[in-house]
């Protein structure tokens, strides 16, 4: 177990955390806002 092993584990851990953060945030947004509102963007609007 040296520095590089530690770095590898840290990399896995940080990746999982970031991914979980995004999932939880996306889930929260889906609950807090109406689906119609989230899908309401229209193409090419100035």
């Amino acid at each position: 177990m040296d520095l590089w092993d530690l770095l590898s584990y840290a990399a896995w851990a940080v990746s999982v955390l970031l991914f979980l953060w995004m999932l939880i945030d996306a889930w929260g947004v889906g609950r807090k806002f109406q689906e119609d509102f989230l899908l309401s963007s229209r193409e090419g609007e100035e």
Binding site: A11, S15, F37, L39, G44
Partner: protein, 469 residues
């Protein structure tokens, strides 16, 4: 800008009725997006063209393909400055050719960028492994670093486009500077001291057919510059910023490609160069200068990260647009109310990129990416001719009009045909496999998916009826 875009999308009370991507980007970001995606090509990948046609063959191919991309940039600037919407070429196809073409173009974009992203992450992993090896830790598993780079960049993209592309500008500029430093570091004014062009360069090893074959990987010098127009919906004044950012990006790339070739060809025998994984890093090693080696290590990592970052940005915009138009499940057409990013598309594409990076071999991934790009250029040439025919000059307001039409479109088409032939030489089976994918996907769209598409909604530009329809 409508009131919906300016209104803050705060809590659930007092919601505005519409939501949109944020318009915050300027020409600098467009440059960073275009060059950022491509510059990694100078640090790895372009040199496979040396393997296919020798060093001189690669240089000739680099220039010819540079011409192809100049046509791409010209055509793109005109159409994008007129059709400014997320999805870039995809939206253009929808308005000018029709839904099935648009679906295919959207897939070209998503596939080209997601595969490139996987390749970039692999490069980061391999470099970490190489460095660990030099510090005495043999056989480091590169996978955690591959996943980490994808995770960080996806997170950055999720949190907002302005920050994402500002970061991209900084690291892209640093990577470009690394190439310039390397060029001066090898003392180009004293040939024979470090650079050994006279001793190392030989005639074309495969003759002229090798030069044509080399065009396949010479595309790697520039592949992805057309991604600039994915940002169209988020740029403050698209009509001005996109042509400016794209053209200056193209000039940057032509300079970088020439410097890269000059340094690498003066340091490595072509047989080695033709299969090297990180040719510029190897070039720095050959100079024996420790500082240069560190600079090129950082440059390679930065370029790979910038590229993956831009790819996540572009692939998710294309996926999002297809969801919004119901070409894909509508669920993907959502915009994050706080960060104003296509967050579901970003999330969905993460595991896909990871799986590409873990399961598929690098040259296969690169070939799939290049071919998807090439199909896109073929479309752009035909699209340009249709565009001018259906809406002649003067019938609609164009942000920019490119000169010498239809010459660029014809040159582009001819060069595309030559590049298909180049791919056929040596990678024929991959070519057919890629075509099989797009044919099957098209059939799926025609027989299954198209029934969910709202017909009239596919045309959103305030233009008159197209001529001939």
């Amino acid at each position: 800008m409508s009131e919906a875009t300016t209104a803050a999308a705060g809590g659930s009370s007092g919601q505005p009725t519409r939501i949109a991507l944020l318009k915050v980007l300027g020409p600098v970001h467009v440059w960073a997006l275009g060059v950022g995606i491509v510059l990694v090509g100078e640090f790895m990948g372009w040199n496979f063209s040396v393997g296919k046609g020798g060093a001189y063959g690669s240089l000739i191919a680099c220039w010819v393909v540079g011409l192809l991309y100049t046509c791409v940039a010209m055509i793109d600037s005109e159409v994008t400055s007129t059709v400014a919407a997320a999805g870039g070429q995809y939206t253009q196809a929808k308005h000018i050719v029709g839904p099935l073409m648009a679906f295919n173009v959207g897939l070209y974009l998503v596939m080209a960028y997601t595969m490139l992203e996987a390749g970039d992450a692999l490069v980061v992993g391999d470099l970490m492994k190489a460095v660990a090896g030099e510090f005495g830790h043999a056989d480091l598993d590169p996978r955690p670093f591959v996943v980490l780079s994808i995770a960080i960049l996806a997170w950055l993209n999720y949190r907002g486009v302005f920050m994402t592309l500002t970061v991209n500008f900084v690291i892209t500029a640093a990577a470009f500077l690394a190439i310039v430093i390397l060029f001066f570091g090898v003392a180009p004014w004293e040939p024979g001291k470090v650079l050994l062009h006279k001793e190392l360069l030989i005639d074309l090893p495969y003759g002229w057919i090798g030069v044509i074959a080399a065009m396949q990987f010479a595309m790697w010098y520039y592949l992805g510059i057309e991604g600039t127009c994915q940002a169209a919906e988020e740029v403050r004044s698209a009509g001005r910023s996109i042509p400016l950012g794209t053209m200056s990006g193209m000039i940057t790339l032509l300079i970088a490609a020439s410097l890269t070739w000059y340094v690498a060809a003066g340091l490595m025998p072509w047989e080695y160069l033709g299969q090297a994984i990180t040719p510029l890093y190897d070039a720095a090693k050959l100079t024996g200068n420790g500082t240069l080696q560190v600079i090129l290590f950082v440059g390679t990592i930065f370029s790979a990260i910038a590229s993956a970052n831009g790819c996540i940005n572009d692939a998710s915009r294309a996926w999002f647009s297809m969801g919004r138009d119901r070409y894909l499940p509508t669920w993907f057409g959502a915009v994050h109310p706080r960060y104003r990013t296509p967050y579901r598309a970003i999330l969905f594409l993460i595991p896909i990129a990871v799986v590409f990076a873990f399961q598929a071999p690098l040259d296969q991934v690169i070939s799939f990416s290049i071919l998807s790009g090439l199909l896109g250029y073929t479309f752009m040439s035909l699209n340009m001719m249709k565009f001018r025919k259906q809406w002649p000059l003067g019938s609609i307001k164009r942000g920019y009009v490119h000169p010498f039409h239809p010459l660029p479109a014809i040159v582009l088409l001819v060069l595309c045909v030559a590049t298909y032939f180049a791919t056929f030489l040596g990678y024929g089976a991959t070519l057919v496999a890629v075509m099989a994918f797009y044919i099957l996907a098209s059939a799926w769209f025609v027989f299954h998916r198209y029934k969910f598409v709202r017909r009239g909604d596919q045309f959103t530009m305030p233009w008159p009826r197209p001529k001939g329809y």
